[in-house]
Every structure is written in C-alpha cells, then in structure tokens.
C-alpha cells in the first residue's frame, strides 16, 4: 500500500536539498572561506528555500498539518538541540585543550574566521540532523 508523501514531508526534502546544495560546497569546496561567504551563504539558503517552498506550495493540493506533524517537528528539534549542545561541549573542550597545550595563537587574524566556521558548522550539522530526523520519522510512519 502506498503511503504517499505529505506536504510537510515534501517541504522537508526541499529543506534538506537546499541545505546540502548550499552548505556542501561551502564546507567542502572552498578552502579560503570568508565572512562575506558566510553572509552570502545565508542569503543563498533563504532564497533557495523560498523558491523551493513556493514551488511545493503551488502544486500541493492539501497543505494541512496536524498533531502528528507537530510531534515529528518537536522530535526533530529535540535531536537538533542535542546535536548542537553535544558539538558545543566538544568544541569548547577542544578550545580548552588547544589553549592549554599552547598551539592556539589567539592573536592570529584567521582565528576569528576559524571560530566562525566551526560554530557555523555546528549549526549546520544540527540543522541537517533535525531535518533528517523528521524525514526518518515520516518514513517510519512514527
């Protein structure tokens, strides 16, 4: 029996696609990232999300969301938060370790950008894990 794909699920696939299309090249293709590229990436993901969500909304017959959608959304946010908090603890522990050992030179001009990328990366991983959890919950029918 076919379970079909609901409007919310289509939106989640679009979100995951947009995240992978924008974040992927940023983190894996560019070696010399900059603050401008971070800002550009944020604009790019907003524009891409608006375009994709608009296309889905245009062709969706039923845009209803119900209690199960909200439950799955909450589950996704919980996983995203746990992922982000764990990465933050790991990042702070690594920061402490490097500053204690003495390899970290805080006066270096690239350190700020490095931290920006690391913390932005944590946000990206948390966001992708949130979206992926929601998709898995829909596929498993919760």
């Amino acid at each position: 029996m076919s379970t079909g794909i609901s409007y919310r699920e289509k939106c989640l696939y679009a979100s995951l696609l947009a995240e992978l299309l924008v974040y992927g090249p940023y983190f894996f293709l560019h070696r010399q990232n900059s603050v401008n590229k971070v800002a550009g990436m944020i604009v790019a993901i907003i524009v891409l999300q608006v375009i994709l969500q608009s296309i889905i909304a245009l062709f969706a017959r039923n845009r209803m969301t119900d209690e199960r959608d909200r439950l799955i959304e909450l589950r996704g946010y919980r996983v995203g938060y746990i992922t982000f908090a764990s990465l933050m603890v790991l990042g702070l522990a690594m920061l402490w370790f490097h500053s204690t050992v003495g390899h970290l030179q805080l006066e270096n001009r690239w350190v700020g950008l490095h931290f920006l990328n690391v913390f932005f990366g944590m946000l990206v991983i948390a966001d992708i894990s949130k979206t992926a959890t929601q998709i898995v919950s829909y596929r498993r029918a919760l």
């Binding site: 609901s6 919310r8 959608d69 029918a141």
Partner: protein, 71 residues
C-alpha cells in the same frame, strides 16, 4: 504488539469510506490515518474521539488498550 490497537480499517471498510474521507472528517492528513491504522501512531484523545464519531461508533469499539503490551 502495540499497547493501543484499533479497528479503524475494518470499520472504515464496512462504511466504504476512504482514508482521505476519514482524514477530512477528522481534520488530519491521510498519512496520519495510515499511521494510526498501522498501529504506528497513537492519536491524541481528541483525535481518537473525532475518529470514533466519524465512524459512528464508541471510543471502545474503535480503540482498545492492552496494558500488558509494550510500546
């Protein structure tokens, strides 16, 4: 075996009602009706009452609770 089981599929079939028709009456998506029928999702009390009303039966005729079963 799930703790909460239901007879929605049988009751729906007896009334020749589609999943979409039931979903529209209850105010949920068709995917939610499918998940409930497959015992993969236990609805809220409010939705359970709405399902029972839409099928014209009591809550006990529609949903059964087994306290010994594991979720």
């Amino acid at each position: 075996m799930p703790a909460i089981r239901n007879q929605i599929r049988e009751l729906r079939a007896m009334r020749k009602m589609t999943q979409q028709e039931l979903a529209d009456q209850v105010g949920v998506t068709r995917q939610t009706v499918i998940a409930i029928e497959q015992d993969k999702y236990s609805p809220s009390l409010e939705t359970a009452f709405k399902v029972a009303i839409a099928l014209g039966v009591t809550l006990e005729q529609c949903f059964q609770f087994d306290p010994k079963a594991k979720r």
